[in-house]
Structures are given as C-alpha cells and as structure tokens.
C-alpha cells in the first residue's frame, strides 16, 4: 500500500462519521419533510400523495398567512430594536473605550448570557414583567402605581423585549468585529478633510460597518422568525408565531402535511434572507487590509 492509498483510507475513515451524521440528521429529515408536505391529511393520520393543497391552504386561510405576516413583522421589529440598542453600545465600546481591558470586559459581559440556557433567559422576563414581578414591585414601591399593572406581560411588546434581550449578543458580535476592523486613520482622515463628527460617522464609519449590520440583522431576524419559546412564555393570545403553529400541527392538530408545508415555507424565507444578505455583503465587500 503506498502513501497515497494510506492517505485516502485515513481521510475516508475521518470523514465517514461527519457524512453519516449530516445525512441522518440533516438531509434525510429535510427530504422526508418535503415529501410529507405534499401528502394529504386523512383521518386519523395522512396518506402519501403529491398535491399542493397544503401550500395553497397556507396562503388562502388567514389563520396561517396572518401568523406568517405577524412572525415577519415581529422578527423585523426585534431586529430593529436589537440594532438600535447594539449599535450605539458597540460603537461606544470600539471607539470610545480606550482601555483594551475594559473593552474586553464589557464585550464579554455582553456575550456571556449566551452560555445561559435560552429557556432560563426567556423565563427571567416573566419574573420582571409579571404582575408580581420586579417592574411592578418597583413601581409600587416608588408610589407611581397603587396596584400591579398587567400590560407589561403577555403581549407582543413583551415578546419583542424578551427576544431583543436574548438576541443582542448575536447583533453585537458581528458589529463589534466589523467596527473594530475600521482603521482609525480613516476617521482621522475624514476629520482632517474638514468633515465633522456626524458627517464622518455617516460617510465613513456607518458605510464601512454595513457588513456587520447585515450579518447582525440576518442572525436576529432568522432566529426571531423561528422562535417558539418567547411567544409561549411572555406572548399573549395574539402573539402566536409561525413556529408555534408548526408545533401545533405536529402535535394536537395531527396535521403533519400542513406542518411540513409551513416548515418548508419558513425554510424558504430564511434561505432567501441569508442568500440576499450574502449577496449584498459580497457586493460591498472591501479590502480593509
């Protein structure tokens, strides 16, 4: 056996595991889901078929397309809120905090919630926003209200706050990376050429951080779009997201074909967003040394 053969065998041995894993947990389930999305529902379960009725139903029945639209709206709002909080914070970290050590401490402190269970972090907001929660207790202690207010919890705002909190690290990380890559002398050159702070930000810093903004938006949007926990924990009666509907189709409704079709639509939307953001990112990709 020569060296090339040995290498081939070694390589195959190394790759067998990952390939099987990829086939079993990724490709096969997708294919099964795609197939079931064309099946027909038939009591008590479903029968193999090839028809577009499930997809048709999604875009015909308000019950489904409205949830889809609501999910898109809430994801967009979560992304905007997260961006609005994360960009100034990251800008401050990168450009204003002079000490490298302090910068890293604040950065890590922002990222560290990722290590805590998602469920726990979402649940935390229940204890903050609830009638017996911290916010109400504080307002009552401060004498601003006489009895607990119920408007904080179980509505779309609560969901948006919760998700914005949970997905902040996903926005901060790419923003931090892209802002940190902007050479300081570009900012200085802009000022040297007579442009004030705001103009410099709008014409130099902001355009050069677009790649980070795109990645941050993609992360937060796609993660919120598929979120299932926050609607259940802090959302109200009109806060159902697409994932909750999918879950119920596979659960109590026992309508796997419709659930699969909904999942395929979700998948398409997410893939479209990722492709689009990647395309923009490539078009604007710059050599910052």
């Amino acid at each position: 056996m020569n060296l090339a053969q040995q290498r081939r065998i070694g390589f195959s041995a190394l790759m067998t595991g990952p390939i099987i894993w990829w086939l079993v947990v990724l490709l096969v389930p997708y294919v099964i889901m795609l197939m079931i999305s064309f099946y027909s529902k038939q009591f008590p379960f479903h029968v193999p078929d090839f028809q577009f009725g499930n997809y048709f139903k999604i875009f015909d029945d308000p019950q489904y397309y409205q949830v889809l639209l609501r999910s898109l709206k809430i994801s967009a709002l979560v992304s905007v809120v997260t961006f609005g909080l994360a960009y100034p914070l990251t800008y401050f970290l990168v450009f204003k905090v002079r000490s490298q050590r302090v910068r890293m401490i604040i950065y890590v402190a922002t990222i560290i919630p990722l290590w805590v269970s998602y469920l726990l972090r979402a649940y935390t907001w229940k204890t903050i926003l609830g009638t017996e929660g911290i916010l109400n207790s504080f307002l009552m202690w401060a004498g601003l209200i006489d009895e607990p207010i119920t408007i904080f919890l179980y509505n779309q705002s609560a969901m948006i706050i919760t998700m914005a909190y949970i997905f902040t690290p996903y926005m901060v990380m790419p923003l931090f990376a892209s802002l940190e890559r902007i050479p300081r002398n570009l900012v200085e050159a802009s000022k040297d050429l007579g442009v004030r702070r705001m103009g410099t930000f709008l014409r130099v810093t902001l355009p050069l951080s677009v790649p980070g903004i795109l990645v941050g938006f993609t992360f937060t949007f796609c993660l919120s779009f598929g979120d299932f926990i926050s609607p259940q924990l802090v959302g109200g009666p009109y806060s159902n997201m697409i994932s909750n509907v999918v879950a119920s189709q596979f659960g109590i409704a026992m309508n796997w074909p419709l659930g699969s079709a909904l999942s395929m639509v979700m998948l398409l939307i997410v893939v479209a967003i990722i492709t689009l953001s990647d395309r923009f990112e490539r078009a604007g990709r710059l050599d910052l040394n």
């Binding site: 002398n185 050159a189 802009s190 000022k191 040297d192 050429l193 004030r196 130099v204 710059l286």
Partner: protein, 374 residues
C-alpha cells in the same frame, strides 16, 4: 519670511510616558521642514498636535499667527497625508479626492471640475472610477497627496510618506515630492526616521530624541556641524572617538589621540586643557596621501596601518589603525587620482590627511561616552 507654524512649549504624555517634552519650534512659510528621529522620539506626536489629532498637555500651537490649539482637526487650515494613505476603501478615487471639497461649500460642478484637474495633475484621470484597492501603492500615494492638496491647506503634513514604498519607488517619489514642493511653494512638514530622506528633501531638519529637539538646521549644517555625537552618528557614518585636549592655540584646539596629534578648528568651544573630548571625522573627509605627498603644517596628517578593505563599487572603505582605541574608517572614492590598483594593500603603512575644519569636537561627553568605544 513669516512663520507659518509656531510651536510653544508643547508637552504631551501618554499614560505617564512623556512623548513630547516642552518643545518650541518655528517653521517658515514655504519651507520643507522634516522632523527626524528614531521611533518613539515624539516626532509623530508633534505632527499630530499640529494636525489637531492630539491635544497637548501644555503649550500652544499657532498656525499663520492664529492660536489653533483648541481647534478640532476639521477646523484647521492644514491637511495631512497619512502613513498608509488612509484612502476611503468604499469610495472611488474621484470621490476620495472630492471628499473634503463637498464640505467646503462648493457646488457639485465645482467639485467635479477641481477633482478632474487634480486627477489630471497626478495623471490618474483614467482611474477616476476605480477603488483605491485597485491602484498600485505609488498611485495610492498620489491620490492621497491630491486629496490633501485640493483643500488648498496652508500647511501640508506628511506622516512617513515613503514608508509603504519599496526602495526604488521611494527614490522617485522623494524627487517628485521635492519638485512638487518647489512648484507650489506650500509649507511641508514631514515626519521620517530615514536620515537620507531627511537630508535629500528638506530645507531644514529638526532632529528629535526622547521627546526633545536636539538640533534644528539645514541638512548641510547638521551634517557638517552636528550638535552632539548622537547626531553625528545618526546622520551618516562617522568616526567618533575620545581624545585629550593638549593645548588651545589661536583658532585651533590641539588634541592627543594615541600617538597622534589632531587639530580642530572649533573656535567657539573652550574645553579645559587636559580634559577629555569627543572628536568626529566623516569617513569621506579623510584623504589618502601618496607616499611622497606633503601637506601644509595646518592640515592634520595621521599615519597608520591598513587593516581591512571593503569594496563598495564606486568607493572603497578602508580601516586604518592609527594606534588609538578605535581604528579610523576611510571612504575612498575610486574616481579620485588614486585608482583602485594603486590602493595600498592591507598591512601597509599609509598617511591620511584631514582638515581641522572637518574635525568636529564635542565637549561634555559623559552622557555619550558609553555609546562608543572609548
């Protein structure tokens, strides 16, 4: 000529380290001034204080008679060419050059016209729509220069403008920049650590070391009359050694170096007889004498044994042991009367001559003594 830039007692520290220590300097209008020194000497910090990128802890900066110490960079009538050019990567060449003009309140067509002119001047009209990354380093430098100059600043600041260029391009650009300076008559202040660059390009050079100005002067003044052994050694090669003062005569100081007597023409210095001083002689000022040559009594004549020869193409470097602590290095041009064939081989005893005016004498040598073999 009026002073365009005046620095008064500037001091700047970074985290307890004093980068610039109480420096004062006047720069004349239209002058090419170079700040020269090793890295960390404070030259860049000084330039950045003129540009407004650093705020001095103490001292004032005057531009054209106006105190600009408290003015932000965007309000100062100066422009800087940054070390790695700092061209905006997301803008075209034309947008880069026009960047500072749109702000200046010009109309779109005026900006376009000035940008076109600038592009024509730097011969890059065909690259107007290119991104900086598509240009060669030399072209990027020209764009950076044009971008700074279209704003018609009163002073152009250049932060190590040649450091990104290779040796060949560097020489070309030195000449081009020098021509440009003559042509437009603008005040240039350049920072460099390259002493040849400083000597070639500048009208005057400010030598800095450890946050302080060591000497200011024209390149020839600095080369021929360095203020201390550090500068003598920093600006080109020099033979530096310690000698003892034997006597002071009219117009000359006579010193002993080993068995040799060396006269210097340092009339303004008054070292005590018997004190130790440092002498500096440039290698090219030492003339190899033919065996039968005679020299006037006033010229130093030193005898020694050649220990080594190094061929440099247009010249030969000889090391000559004259019985002192350090051998002398002689730079012998090969186009002079004595050809290479006629050069004495190693081991031979020869005589060299040097004018007393070419010997620089330094008093107060204590702080420099450790740096040289004594």
């Amino acid at each position: 000529m009026a002073n365009i830039v005046e620095l008064e007692h500037l001091t700047k520290s970074f985290g307890g380290v004093r980068a610039v220590n109480n420096i004062s300097l006047q720069i004349k209008e239209g002058e090419f001034m170079t700040m020269l020194g090793p890295s960390g000497c404070g030259k860049t910090t000084t330039l950045r204080m003129i540009g407004g990128f650093e705020y001095p802890d103490r001292g004032r900066v005057y531009l054209d008679g106006q105190d600009v110490t408290d003015l932000a960079p965007y309000k100062r009538p100066v422009n800087m060419m940054f070390q790695d050019f700092a061209l905006f990567p997301h803008m075209t060449v034309a947008q880069n050059i026009g960047y500072g003009l749109r702000i200046a309140g010009l109309t779109k067509s005026e900006v376009a016209k000035q940008v076109d002119e600038a592009l024509a001047t730097i011969e890059l009209s065909h690259k107007a729509a290119s991104r900086p990354a598509e240009l060669s380093i030399g072209q990027q430098q020209r764009v950076a220069l044009a971008r700074a100059l279209v704003r018609r600043p009163k002073v152009l600041l250049l932060d190590e403008p040649m450091s990104a260029l290779d040796a060949k391009l560097r020489e070309t650009m030195q000449v081009e920049l020098k021509h440009l300076h003559k042509q437009i008559g603008l005040t240039f202040i350049m920072v460099t650590h390259d002493q040849t660059e400083a000597l070639v390009m500048s009208d005057r050079v400010t030598i800095m070391d450890q946050g302080e100005i060591v000497q200011v002067g024209t390149p020839t003044e600095l080369y021929d009359h360095p203020a201390n052994p550090y500068i003598a050694n920093f600006l080109g090669a020099s033979n530096i050694f310690v000698a003892t003062v034997r006597e002071i005569t009219a117009g000359a100081i006579v010193t002993d170096y080993g068995p040799n007597v060396i006269r210097t023409a340092a009339a303004d210095k008054k070292p005590a007889v018997g004190s130790r001083v440092m002498l500096s002689i440039r290698p090219e000022k030492l003339r190899l004498l033919a065996t039968d040559a005679t020299v006037p009594e006033s010229v130093n004549r030193l005898g020694g044994v050649i220990s080594e020869q190094f061929f440099h193409g247009d010249s030969v470097r000889l090391t000559l042991d004259i019985g002192g602590d350090t051998p002398l290095i002689i730079n012998h041009q090969l186009n002079s009367s004595l050809g290479q064939d006629a050069l004495p081989p190693a081991g031979q005893t020869v005589n060299v001559a040097v004018d007393p005016s070419s010997v620089t004498l330094f008093e107060d040598i204590a702080e420099h003594e450790a740096e040289y073999h004594t």
